[in-house]
Subunit: 712 residues, 2 copies
């Protein structure tokens, strides 16, 4: 059996236990130990539950044992609810009893700091010793709605409906909220896992399990951190990319802002700004990130039961203007197209609809519309190849046959493999209609804008599924040469590479670096200038000068040997004035690059996630607007291209307002080489190429300044 298969089997002891020991079961109504046992019994658990409590003979009519070792039968899963200080010894007993799965509900561990951290470490040691699969501690528990298990091993919440959504949550409170909301909205779940402190099982193992879970079609997550971002990416990609059965992953990651992140983590400060890294992780693995809890709920309702649209053209059918307009605005603002109907569709619609009706999209059937108009319109519209999805809105009058219209929508929808989302406004009059729709897997939303937003996100996921699959380009480079330069600097105790060294590394990795030469005398500088060709740029080369411009260490547009001489002397003088101890390695003579569009590329080594690539246009505006894109290295070909196209300023590179089209292929090539370099050299802490000057299409690009800083 493969490693993965073994892991799978291990988690079965948690998700499909044949027997459960409920350690800390209690006779006291309302207590956690009582509620959890009652939930297991009330959920009609298909296995056998063994309450454990040394002070009781029986609880809820079930025989009780003083400890797990006293149970005469084999136990698959232990649910532990004793006070934190007793958990370790209880777990030790579980190990001895050869129990393979455990859920620790009890709180009082890492989350309270101090002694709690120690207690949690003890637990980690024990689960390793006995090879236990552990959920928690500090969690709400776990639910499996599958009829062959039917297990609600949580406290304080009711068993949800059976469904095809798995939910992983890092917050117990949100678990309860989700279950309550789900019940109200007729949302069903396959599995439900409150992960707590993640001392044992974490999101990555759970995702791996859910990937192959036949009962799960959609995965919903609430996260405050990721234990291993790169592993997460790889598993998430396997899931959303699956050739036969891709499953969408919808995630809410708390801590978008710095204060929020601080609240989410004790590592204050160190997480600053990493939210864009989470964005990158989600984007690179096809995970849909919700902005709010509500958005996530809205998404899951449709993702769990509707096909994905094959394109972005949406039809809106309504019987009242206002809500139709609101849906239209939201569709368009989220990248969908509310296209005019084709002549053919209009001709067909005309046969069903009164002549006074305008056949626009949104299609306003006006207040009098009944089931015939809804069914025929939706049917004709969905039958058109150029329409990929529909939003159907109903605001009933006293004469509207709400239920018949709902049935008509279902009937039309069933004939076409296209997503249909509904908005029936007016909760009192339309509830029966909503029930009909939702019983038939057509999600309804209270607000037209919500339906539109959800449809947009489904379309985005559909793009993800259909995107061209590209590999990671592997360039032939002279890695040993780069290695030598880095080792040399390390030997000299330097973390800051000279510009010439940075250039050299980039050159051996095939980047287009500006012609340059390091010189150590006026004569050498003059000769280098001749060789390179005037005009030239001259720059200080010193390990003690990072900000060359501020030191007066750069001169541009030097046109004659006399000017070279003057610049040579002035640069030395300027630098030594600012820092008399600066070690001057020479003066770098560089070709003066032609004007083009300035671009910034970078690598940053994130302590948690490793090398992160950055792309942005140069200039103070882009900086002020923070219009840059990040991705984790390595990037595949499509991602390299999307790093450019997903910035807001991208259009400036692509013939904006009749302007030039720049050589984006050349920039992509640099991004992919940078990706390879970043992965090859984990030692690089920061690498800035600023600017990379890009020219018109076919004319390439040139690096005219680079900076590399190594990790300590």
């Amino acid at each position: 059996m493969s490693y993965e298969g073994t892991q799978q089997k291990k988690l079965d002891s948690i998700f499909h236990p044949r027997t459960i020991a409920i350690i800390g079961a209690s006779r006291q109504e309302g207590s956690v130990g009582h509620s959890l046992l009652a939930n297991i019994i009330d959920s009609r658990y298909q296995g056998i539950a063994y309450p454990v409590n040394p002070k009781a003979d029986g609880i809820l009519g079930i025989k009780c044992y003083p400890n797990v070792l006293a149970i005469p039968d084999e136990i698959d899963l232990a649910v532990v609810m004793v006070p934190a200080r007793h958990v370790a010894s209880v777990l030790e007993e579980c190990g001895k009893k050869n129990i393979k799965g455990a859920i620790i509900i009890s709180a009082g561990f890492k989350e309270i700091g101090g002694k709690g951290v120690e207690l949690e470490q003890n637990i980690k040691d024990i689960i390793q010793k006995y090879d236990l699969s552990l959920v928690g501690p500090n969690c709400l528990g776990l639910i499996n709605t599958s009829p062959d298990s039917s297990m609600n091993a949580t406290f304080g919440t009711q068993m949800p409906l059976e469904g095809n959504i798995a939910f992983l949550s890092q917050s117990g409170a949100l678990c309860v909220a989700v279950l309550d909301y789900a019940k109200e909205s007729n949302i069903g779940f396959s599995k439900f896992i409150s992960m707590g402190n993640k001392a044992g099982v974490n999101e990555n193992e759970l995702l791996r399990y859910l990937k192959d879970d036949p009962k799960t079609d959609v995965i919903l997550m609430y996260l405050e951190d990721l234990v291993n971002g790169r592993e997460f990416m790889s598993i998430a990609q396997e899931i959303t990319n699956h050739p036969m059965r891709p499953k969408p992953i919808l995630a809410l990651k708390a801590g978008r802002t710095l204060t929020g992140a601080k609240a989410a983590s004790s590592h204050t400060g160190s997480l600053a700004g990493t939210d864009s890294v989470y964005d990158a992780i989600f984007q690179q693995s096809g995970v849909i990130r919700g902005n709010t809890l509500e958005e996530l709920f809205d998404y899951v309702k449709a993702f769990s039961c509707q096909p994905f649209p094959s394109g972005s053209n949406v039809a809106i059918i309504t019987n009242s203007g206002g809500p139709g307009i609101l849906a239209t605005d939201t569709c368009i603002n989220n990248g969908l197209s509310v296209v005019p109907f084709s002549k053919n569709v209009k001709k067909k619609l005309r046969t069903h609809l009164p002549p006074s009706l305008s056949l626009n999209n949104p299609l306003d059937l006006i207040a009098e519309a009944q089931e015939e108009q809804y069914e025929a319109s939706l049917d004709e519209i969905l039958g058109d190849d150029d329409i990929h999805s529909a939003i159907v809105i109903l605001t009933p009058t006293a004469f509207t046959h709400v239920e018949d219209i709902a049935r008509a929508i279902v009937a039309s929808w069933k004939k076409h493999e296209k997503p249909v989302l509904c908005c029936f406004l007016g909760v009192y009059d339309v509830s029966r209609g909503i029930d009909i729709l939702e019983d038939n897997n057509i999600p309804t939303y209270r607000f037209p804008e919500s339906a539109a937003r959800v449809l947009a996100e489904m379309t985005h996921f559909s793009w993800w599924l259909k995107r061209p699959r590209t590999g990671i380009k592997k360039y032939k480079v002279d890695k040993p040469a780069a290695e030598n330069i880095i080792k040399q600097a390390q030997r000299e105790g330097r973390t800051f590479l000279l510009e010439q060294e940075a250039y050299e590394i980039l050159k051996v990795y095939g980047f287009p670096v500006i012609k340059s030469k390091l010189t150590d005398s006026i004569k050498a500088a003059q000769e280098a200038s001749e060789e390179i060709g005037y005009p030239v740029v001259m720059k200080i080369a010193s390990p003690d000068v990072i900000h060359k411009f501020d030191f007066g260490g750069v001169f541009l547009n030097i046109r004659t040997p006399a000017e070279v001489k003057k610049a040579y002397n002035t640069i030395r003088k300027n630098v030594l004035e600012k820092n008399p101890k600066a070690r001057i390695k020479g003066i770098l003579v560089e070709e003066m690059a032609k004007d083009g569009k300035e671009i910034i590329l970078g690598v940053n080594h994130d302590p948690q996630f490793g090398p992160i690539l950055m792309f942005g246009l140069g200039g103070i505006y882009v900086e002020a607007l923070e219009d840059v894109s990040f991705r984790l290295a390595p990037v595949n070909e499509l991602t390299a291209s999307r790093m450019i196209t997903t910035t807001k300023t991208y259009k400036i590179l692509d013939g904006y307002r009749g302007g030039p089209v720049y050589d984006l292929k050349a920039v992509e090539d640099c991004i992919k080489r940078l990706s390879q370099l970043a992965v090859d050299f984990d030692e690089i802490k920061e690498l800035d190429i600023n600017p990379l000057i890009v020219y018109e299409k076919g004319k390439g690009c040139t690096i005219v300044d680079a900076r590399i800083i190594l990790r300590d």
Copy 2:
């Protein structure tokens, strides 16, 4: 009695009628004519209702009349539900009967085009003839919940609770949806008006009425257009600015996108891009614009019953981490500050809370928290002058005393004049707690992010209330001189002013225009260059050349008399090559401006709203990102300043990253002068100052290019 008083009185016949004729009342259950009469009776209307129907003797036990003229008593209001083609004759009778108010429910007018437009015009003629106040046609009706009226003159919806919110809607369907939602959320209304086609009474008259309505504290609007944007602004400002009793106006304006706007209007095309004008109108009048229907509902719940925060510091109190983090993220992303608690507050909190608890903001009281902890924490926190508002979150466990905690929150809140918004997660367990809170005027939200967003909007409104009140600066200018230039161009049949003419107009309005001279010979150009001082710029002056650069009609950085000669000849040659018929008025010699930051100012004459001012930084990035601000002229001093500071790129002008602080006062001065110019000359269709070069603080700014186009 003043005009306004008379108008007020007229609308009383609609809002407070002592008698109502229900024309088209029907015995047929479910029909509009039956529902409306039933609603009037069921709402316990305090006046007398007279059904009118020639085919019935009595309806719902009430004596029926064949027509209004047959009613023996005086009638204040007629509600008309007869088919569209009969409405005019019915209205004629109402006029003869001396009825002063009418509501036409019937549809089939302007909204269907063709003959409907004609029918609507007939109605307009009749209401003018008889001085009738008319609501509709094509509307749902009107509600007044005041106990002395208690009138539900709508069909198909129940009477809402009495409350302090007035709702105006341009969509009948949304009226019903709003009433249904409101009922579920315990939201009460003072007045409720479905405006329909606005053939008679429109939003401006209604706002004027509501301004003085003692029962109304908040005004909610759903709009698809404004009949008179400038009148709307002035009335809305009076309302939101009222010195004694400002009332917030919350508006949802449909048609944000072009397709949406087209769906909202038959004037396809002409409305393109005017959504930013609506934004300007709302911003200049203190109206809060919601993005979605749901947002609007969320806002109104708090605006109607909570005080406004006096600052942007918010405290978040929760008993579980996750929701607290989500609220924190949303607060910060919407401009609020989740500040650390002061030492003093921490000291006080410590006396109430267990020592293991971290005293951060968000304050996590952990799962065990009960009413004592909530009450004491909230009380201490609200007692601190540096905290201006609070969000309280509860996710109960089985042991949580939800109702007691709700009462504790109410008790703390009552002691302080600060807004408190709640989020109790988990609808089943917390409903009793929510009832207690809402009965005591503390709004609750299902999602923590919603509460945070609402609080942010309340804080924005509070800024509006407390903003410095500034007037419109009136500059001493030479208006007749500008008038002469414009008249001269008009006499010559030109709509495009020469650059020199545009400069002249700007100069007499006190703008800092670059030194320049129009010349008609090489010699004159050389003399002008000497006079202005080298280097100079030379530009073609021709009414037939709008895009001077594209014609090769501009030379920069001219340094010698020889260069002047060469430029003079080349410009003429270039222009005549491109357009042999171009009338050349001469060559403009201009001072070469020093480098600074480029800014664009503009005026556009909107056909509906008049002169609109535009401000933006120059450069392709700002253009590509559409980071510009619009305001309707005239602008007061604060608005001129905010036109600059509300752009995203503003920070670049204000010492971004140690860069220069530019002379914003000088730019503001230009905006205010431009406002005066735009108001003085309605003839100006477009005016572009591009660029205005601004220098460092105290060093002013200079116009180096300007273009004026007059209306035909």
